[in-house]
């Protein structure tokens, strides 16, 4: 560190410039991962927050909730299994609702489930819907932001049914649309695929169970049903995989860019100092002393830049517009900070290799 710190102090501009690049790259990493997280929860918080570990789907549905139809009888069969802690049926569909007495239209996702079951929404305002009474719904609080309030009536144009908002819940969205909860009967009546059949059906069965029991339960299912994990069901939400994939790829590239920018910078500087390193080696500096000096510089620089980026990131979140889907957990910040640090040190390996190759004898007989 003797050399590292003194050189950083001496060549301020040079290290300031590379530091600036590092700060920007790290800032971008944090902001994009915040956005990725925010979008993921904006997209699928209803599934992420659901108290379920697995979902039973119709085999031909390709894991898509809106295509899956399962007979209600199957729910009792699954509940009877000793591996299953709890299970509940869920009906899902996406519709456009009209606000009665206004031209306002809103796209929502309907979740239909037992109002007292494990999937029932946590009501934060008003009351829960009734399992028997028709026409009551509990809506995600994001509907409040677009002007809905308790007691408002919503009409489904397709079926002509009218629903009243009796309560609000929070953090419930699916495929970027707010979720509206109702009882299963109501859902069966507005679902065009079901209403003429009169069958008692649902879309999926959410299951709480140990991951160890996965194989057992899967094998016990009839052929036309399949079992998927919560994570797999997230991946099958329309657009979820693509959205997250794009952002994840950007983050991965930023890590690669950070490594290369630092690698090139320190490599060029090391090449420039070949003669100097030769003299130092002749004086008796071994390669590990010089290596520590370079890695020390990279670490100091990286730690300072990452710290500045983290501070800037939290500063940026303060001035972000209200509805911006942005979520950054401390855990993730720490994880990515450490990863950036590791990547930075990896970037300096090229310089270390170069330094190891420098021969002390270059110090002798050289006019420069």
């Amino acid at each position: 560190m003797f050399l590292a710190i003194r050189e950083l102090k001496h060549s301020k501009l040079r290290y300031l410039l590379i530091g600036l690049i590092m700060v920007l790259v790290a800032l971008l990493v944090f902001i994009i991962s915040g956005l990725a997280n925010g979008l993921s929860s904006d997209n699928a918080s209803s599934i992420q927050n659901m108290k379920a570990d697995y979902f039973v789907m119709e085999h031909d549905s390709k894991n898509k909730l809106n295509r899956s139809i399962i007979s209600m009888e199957k729910l009792d069969e699954i509940r009877a299994s000793s591996d299953v802690k709890a299970a509940e049926g869920l009906g899902q569909m996406m519709i456009t609702l009209n606000k009665v007495g206004s031209s306002e239209k809103t796209d929502v996702t309907i979740f239909a489930t037992n109002a007292s079951g494990i999937l029932a929404p946590k009501v934060i305002e008003g009351t829960n819907y009734d399992n028997k009474k028709q026409g009551e719904v509990v809506a995600d609080s994001s509907l409040k932001e677009v002007g809905y309030k308790l007691g408002d009536s919503l009409k489904d144009d397709l079926s002509g049914k009218v629903f009243t908002i009796v309560g609000f819940t929070e953090k419930q969205s699916y495929s970027h649309s707010p979720v509206v909860y109702m009882n299963v009967k109501g859902w069966q009546e507005i679902n065009p695929a079901l209403k003429n059949q009169g069958n008692d059906s649902i879309s999926t069965i959410a299951v709480q169970m140990d991951s160890k029991a996965e194989e057992n339960v899967r094998e016990s299912l009839p052929e036309d049903l399949t079992l998927i994990s919560k994570d797999e069901s997230l991946q099958s939400i329309p657009g979820f995989k693509e959205e997250q994939g794009t952002l994840t790829m950007m983050i991965a590239f930023l890590f690669v860019i950070a490594a290369f920018v630092l690698a090139v910078f320190f490599y060029v500087i090391t090449l420039q100092k070949t003669n100097q390193f030769g003299v130092l080696k002749a004086l008796g500096a071994n390669t590990s002393f010089l290596a520590k000096s370079i890695v020390g510089q990279v670490m100091l620089l990286a730690v300072a830049c990452i710290a500045i980026s983290v501070a800037l990131t939290y500063g940026v979140t303060l001035i972000m517009p209200e509805g911006m889907p942005f979520e950054l957990s401390t855990n993730l910040v720490i994880k990515y900070s450490l990863l950036l640090l590791v990547v930075s040190v990896l970037g300096s390996l090229l310089s270390l290799y170069r330094v190891a190759k420098i021969d002390a004898i270059e110090a002798i007989g050289r006019v420069s």
Partner: protein, 225 residues
Amino acid sequence: MMGDKLLFENVSKIYGEGDNKVTALDNISLNVRAGEFVAIVGPSGSGKSTFLSIAGALLSPSKGRLLLNDEDITSLSPKKLTRVRLEKIGFVFQSSNLVPYLTVRDQLLLISELIGKRDKKTMKKADELLSHLGLGHRADHLPEALSGGERQRVAIARSLMNDPEIILADEPTASLDSKRGRDVVEMLAHEVKSRNKAAIMVTHDERMLDLCDRVVNITDGKVFG
């Protein structure tokens, strides 16, 4: 013989193999005693640099033995040679051999840092050496603020920092005018005498030779004189 700080015994250095074989040093024997200041002269390509590299434990000889302070260093590993250079040899190189971002005092303290004990004592030693060489007022300056002569004086101070057995100077006057060059060599000679060190200076500057105890001529890898 006791009292020899550096002893070359039938040392040869051969580069390459077969048809490309080049004999840089051919069976050289030479000794340098404590308090002796030896000049090595010779045309370019004569093997002066190779000689200095071997004397400075930067290069191992192909044949023969090399004794530093009665210790055989001929077949030490590169790692051990680095340690020998650090603890027993002082170097004064040509012009740009100071680390550009270290102050004059830090140039000296770097040696203590490398040895692994940088403390108040070495700090005091560095300041003493600097004021002794007339650089006390320059201790906090960077090399870029110094004149060529001052830089070489810093290099001399640095070479004394590890209290070496022998000081090796590689054309220390190469970038200096004759007046300043002479000052630097006089200072080096004075330090060698007063501290009873051995010193070898490779030079092509014949005007400096009267300051040396002995002049050794190397031509085509052979020693004369």
